[in-house]
Amino acid sequence: MTTAPFPPEVLVIDDEVQIRRLLRLTLEGAGFRVREAEDGNLGLVEAATKRPDAIILDLGLPDLPGIEVLKRLREWSRLPVLILSVRGQEADKIEALDAGADDFLSKPFGGGELLARLRAMLRRVQTREEESGVSFGDVEIDFARRVVMKAGTAVKLTPKEYGLLRLLVLHRGRVITHRQILRELWGPKAEEQTQYLRVYMTHLRQKLENDPTQPKFFRTESGIGYRFSEE
């Protein structure tokens, strides 16, 4: 998908010139086109006028808080956004994800990880059409018939377990925050009840993972949420 004539274009919004340069080198090396903006306002203008395919947004910007940039962007655009944050900014990170960021990456990050996240994001955009079924490991899910099979035998899931599974699998590769899952499955009043999630996630892992104590597919993003990962 990175082939010419139109390789995807990524807008980098970061105030640190070194980080921008680093990202440019990494991304261009992988075949992306890169645009840069050094603060939030410029970034929003660039995003509106140049219509990039994805945005990499630093949370600590000099003029606008990154979260504000994201909220303004989300008022009119569903462009995939990858958040860059430093350790210790967990609260901001969660707020950004809740506000519609697609994924996050903590500094310092490796180039390989960055590219993997970016590609996963772009892939999700391209395959937005309804899927009728998914399979991973020895598990097969048939969304149309609401049937889940593991190693050839049907697995009994409660409606909430199935809902959780479907939510994570449909957004595969992406972090879903606790708040997002709770609101989706239990309603807005249960947004703080993280213990529900822990309990249901344990059930789901016990039923679908080969080693529930070392989960391979249903990954915990500590303090943030869960991510379904096929890799």
């Binding site: 640190e16 070194q18 980080i19 680093l22 080198l25 990494t26 090396g29 600590g60 430093v86 350790r87 210790g88 967990e90 609260a91 500094k107 310092p108 990050f109 490796g110 180039g111 390989g112 960055l114 409660t158 409606p159 909430k160 606790h178 009840q193 993280t194 213990q195 529900y196 822990r198 309990v199 249901y200 996630m201 344990t202 016990q206 529930p212 104590t213 070392q214 989960p215 915990t220 500590s222 303090g223």
Partner: protein, 884 residues
């Protein structure tokens, strides 16, 4: 309209308050009897023995055995607190040692004879006040009481027995009692006991049997005691209904009002109303209408006593100045939603009543509308004629009499001189003018004197035949009569006007003082300013000095004298102030608590919160009338509010400052963090993109080490600055361990790292990021301090017994040296300084994070060899997950 089936919210609230108050207050049990000798003390001691045998912490603080042997025997074996000995007129008298009991803090204390009056010099005037304080301190009390000592029954008992009762206990004390046990004996049995000498010893027995203990008296007293107990049972039943809401009874919300004046008869009226209010379970108000007619000092004292009695019996006191008594009573009644007015039967003269448009009762009944009016008969009048009252009220200074005399004398001389031109009739007008003018300057007595003298002088010296008191002509006689009447009336009127004016001025002064203080409080920039202003006002209004005590910020519960005070309180006065502050009640001079003090002390109450005490020290002979006390209380409230506002302002300021400083700190930390991490990020990311090689591997290792160091330093700074804000969430310990394991993969790569995570681990409420970091630090520590062949085991579990969840990092390396174990978690402690790098912060941070969660860390050697580091967190139980 209120729904008749719904409980009255006021009653419910009262019921809740009652039960709340009972939670902290001690319980009071009263052994109640009709007369001395029925065996109350005996019954009480039996109960005490029973409680003692059951192992309750009980002490006997005071028991009067009156030399009775059977009672004395019961005391044996019970712990006794010796009486406090107080010197009084050369002898030593034993009283209840309140301090000792409060210091000893037993669960239950025995105090005999609730109605006893303490020796002067004790803290309280009455023993029931001691008991009140014990109850307030949460100590249960059992005590004894005879019916004749009950405030509201004292009159009845006097009528029955002819013996005046001086030692009384307010009814509220008995009503608040949790339990009343009637100790009953028939009159015949009691008399038998007396003649046997079981109650009074020796000769007193015979005398007693003839006087107080007559069979007729005893029967009446017994009925009184039984009826009171029955009334109480009835009321308890009612309370029970309220509490349980058994068919909620709609109550009419009765409220009583009693008119109180400067009459000895008012006490009866007050007690009558009080009894009725209790029977109806209704609140009541005592109203005094201050008419312009001035009161003698004795009358004023009587009025104060009456109002004090009403206050003691839990009435709300209202004092209204007005000329029209009936109209004012009705107005106050309407304002307070009163349903029944109680007044005394008038004993004024029928003529005056006719002139006023009927007696007070008549006028009240005419205007009272829906309100019931009770007219309670007075007792026979006791002497003091109207005339004496009238003259007594006009006590004036001798100087004024001299002025009056001289005026009449001078006028007579002048009259003699001008008589030739004016004729003798006009002279009377001179006299009249002089009397009216005098009225502007002197009191009623001198005016009367001047009027009489001038009438006589005119008659004697001017009306023919002169130099006799005879009057020949009819019109002269008429003139003389009219002159005399006009002079008298004018004198009286002007005198009254002056008295009225004086009262008005005082009232005005009070209102102004309060207004000024209120305004000063509102605009004052500091509590100091308010207090200085208040001190000046108190000095001006009462001629008294003021001391304000505020809570010592260094030692909560202790008071310090505020510098704005205008008198220095000695240690004893300070003690009174402290008592006031702790008990939220007035004390000192003019009160029944520590009345020997020099000052009068009021608590400074801002709502429920007591912020200190206010002391007022009047001149030595000063008194404290109700109106002034009310004003002082308003002062205290204003001052308390000002102090409280000051306190809130200070708290707010401190909070704001700490917030500012925290913000600054955070900005700085974020800045440093950003500046350190950005270049590190660039180096690390760049190194990753370089082709693998030995030098690149070195760069990567160095970068990782640097990153760890920066992270540790920043973590340590956050911990030390107290800026660690936990974002707690329910977490799965297995998730935390797995995440820490992944985060430290670079450190343990190539080793044998196992996890032992049983299914069904309980959740912990923790900040996932912090605990994960703590675990990562432990894992990293294990990697650094063990040979690379050593295995590392990560495990977790729960200990229901000690309410803990634990997460452990164990290795099979060489283990810990015993001399290190105590210092392992100290900052900058390094196990083996020679071998490895690092600052020695990792373990210290792990401990800090665990402790921030209310947990702790432990390091020890495993039985099978190797070290293990464990994080313990409190085990909590999340709200259950709703079933599907």
């Amino acid at each position: 309209m209120s729904d008749p089936t719904r409980p009255d919210p006021d009653a419910l609230l009262a019921s809740i308050r009652r039960s709340e108050a009972k939670d902290t207050r001690g319980r009071l049990k009263v052994f109640f009897g009709m007369a001395p000798g029925v065996g109350k003390t005996y019954a009480m001691l039996e109960a005490a023995r029973k409680a003692h045998a059951e192992g309750r912490d009980i002490v006997v603080a005071l028991v009067e055995t009156h030399g009775r042997e059977e009672t004395q025997r019961l005391l044996e074996g019970l712990p006794v607190i010796p009486r406090a000995m107080i010197a009084y007129r050369g002898t030593q008298l034993g009283e209840l040692d309140l301090e000792a009991v409060l210091a000893r803090r037993p669960r239950l204390v025995v105090v005999d004879e609730l109605a006893h009056t303490n020796v002067p010099g004790s803290r309280h005037v009455k023993r029931w006040q001691d008991v009140e304080e014990l109850l307030a301190a949460g100590i249960d009390v059992i005590t004894t009481l005879n019916v004749q000592h009950l405030e509201s029954r004292a009159d009845t008992v006097r009528q029955i027995t002819g013996v005046a009762v001086r030692e009384t206990v307010p009814d509220s004390m008995i009503e608040a009692a949790d339990e009343i046990q009637l100790v009953d004996l028939t009159p015949a049995q009691l008399r038998e006991r007396i003649t046997e000498g079981k109650v009074y010893l020796g000769d007193r027995a015979a005398a007693a049997a003839d006087n107080f203990f007559k069979a007729s008296n005893l029967t009446a007293l017994r009925e009184l005691a039984l009826r009171l107990t029955a009334e109480r049972v009835d009321k308890q039943l009612r309370d029970l209904r309220e509490d349980r809401q058994i068919s909620a009874i709609w109550r009419s919300g009765e409220r009583l009002l009693v008119a109180v004046g400067a009459s000895p008869f008012s006490t009866r009226l007050i007690r009558w109303t009080r009894r009725m209010a209790y029977a109806l379970d209704a609140p009541w108000i005592a109203v005094n209408v201050e008419t312009p007619a001035p009161l003698t000092p004795e009358e004023r004292k009587l009025l104060e006593e009456n109002l004090a009695l009403a206050r003691e019996l839990n009435a709300e006191i209202v004092v209204v100045p007005d000329r029209d008594v009936a109209g004012t009573l009705v107005r106050v009644a309407q304002q307070h939603n009163v349903s029944q007015i109680v007044i005394g039967k008038s004993r004024g003269s029928p003529v005056l009543d006719f002139l006023r448009g009927g007696s007070l009762a008549d006028r009240l009944i005419r205007r009272s509308g829906q309100i019931d009016v009770y007219v309670v008969p007075a007792e026979p009048r006791t002497g003091r004629s109207r005339w004496r009252e009238w003259t007594a009220s006009s006590a004036s200074q001798p100087r004024e009499y001299v002025t009056a005399l001289l005026t009449v004398f001078g006028l007579t001389l002048a009259g003699l001189a001008v008589q030739g031109w004016t004729g003798y009739t006009a002279i009377s007008l001179f006299y009249l003018t002089a009397v009216v003018l005098l009225g502007l300057f002197v009191g009623q007595g001198p005016i009367l004197l001047a009027a009489t003298l001038s009438a006589l002088a005119w008659n004697f010296l001017f009306i023919p035949p002169i130099l006799t008191f005879r009057i020949d002509k009819f019109e002269d006689g008429l003139m003389f009569g009219i002159f005399f009447v006009i002079a008298l009336v004018t004198g009286r009127l002007t005198g009254r006007l002056r008295a009225q004016e004086r009262d008005q001025r005082q009232r005005e002064q009070r209102a102004t003082a309060l207004y000024q203080l209120t305004r000063a409080v509102a605009v004052a920039r500091s509590a100091d300013e308010v207090l200085r202003n208040a001190a000046a006002q108190v000095q001006e209004l009462f001629g008294a000095r003021l001391a304000i005590f505020t809570v010592d910020p260094a030692q909560p519960g202790r008071l310090v004298l505020h510098p704005a005070a205008t008198y220095l309180a000695n240690e004893k006065e300070q003690g009174v102030a402290t008592w006031t502050y702790r008990n939220h009640r007035a004390a000192g001079r003019f009160t029944d608590t520590l009345p020997a003090a020099e000052g009068f002390y009021l608590p400074l109450l801002a709502g429920e919160n007591c912020v200190g005490a206010m002391g007022v020290k009047p001149p030595a002979e000063g008194t404290l009338p109700v109106s002034q006390r009310g004003l002082l209380e308003s002062f205290a409230t204003q001052i308390a509010l000002a102090l409280d506002r000051e306190r809130l302002r200070a708290t707010e300021e401190a909070a704001r400052l700490s917030q500012e400083s925290e913000k600054l700190h955070r900005t700085l930390l974020d800045g440093v963090s950003h500046e350190l991490k950005t270049p590190l990020t660039v180096i690390a990311s760049a190194a990753e993109n370089l082709a693998d090689g030995p030098l690149v591997a070195e760069i990567r290792t160095a970068t990782q080490r640097l990153q760890r160091l920066v992270n540790n330093l920043l973590d340590m700074t956050r911990l030390e600055s107290g800026m660690l804000r936990l974002r707690r969430d329910w977490c799965d310990p297995a998730d935390l361990i797995n995440a820490a394991r992944e985060a430290t993969a670079d450190a343990w790569r190539g080793r044998d790292v196992r996890t032992e995570l049983p299914a069904g681990l309980p959740l912990v409420r923790a900040d996932a990021g912090l605990i994960q970091q703590a675990l990562a630090n432990l894992i990293h520590n294990a990697c650094v301090h063990t040979p690379s062949t050593a295995a590392i085991t990560l495990s977790a579990g729960a200990d229901e017994a000690s309410h803990q969840v634990w997460m452990r990092v164990a290795d099979n390396g060489p283990g810990l040296r015993t001399d290190q174990q105590g210092r392992l978690f100290d900052k900058f402690f390094r196990g083996d300084p020679g071998r490895t790098g690092g600052l020695g912060l990792g373990l210290s941070i792990a401990r800090g994070f665990a402790e921030a969660h209310g947990g702790h860390v432990e390091a020890n050697n495993q039985p099978a060899g190797g070290a293990r580091f464990t994080i313990f967190l409190p085990l909590e139980h999340p709200a259950s997950v709703p079933p599907e």
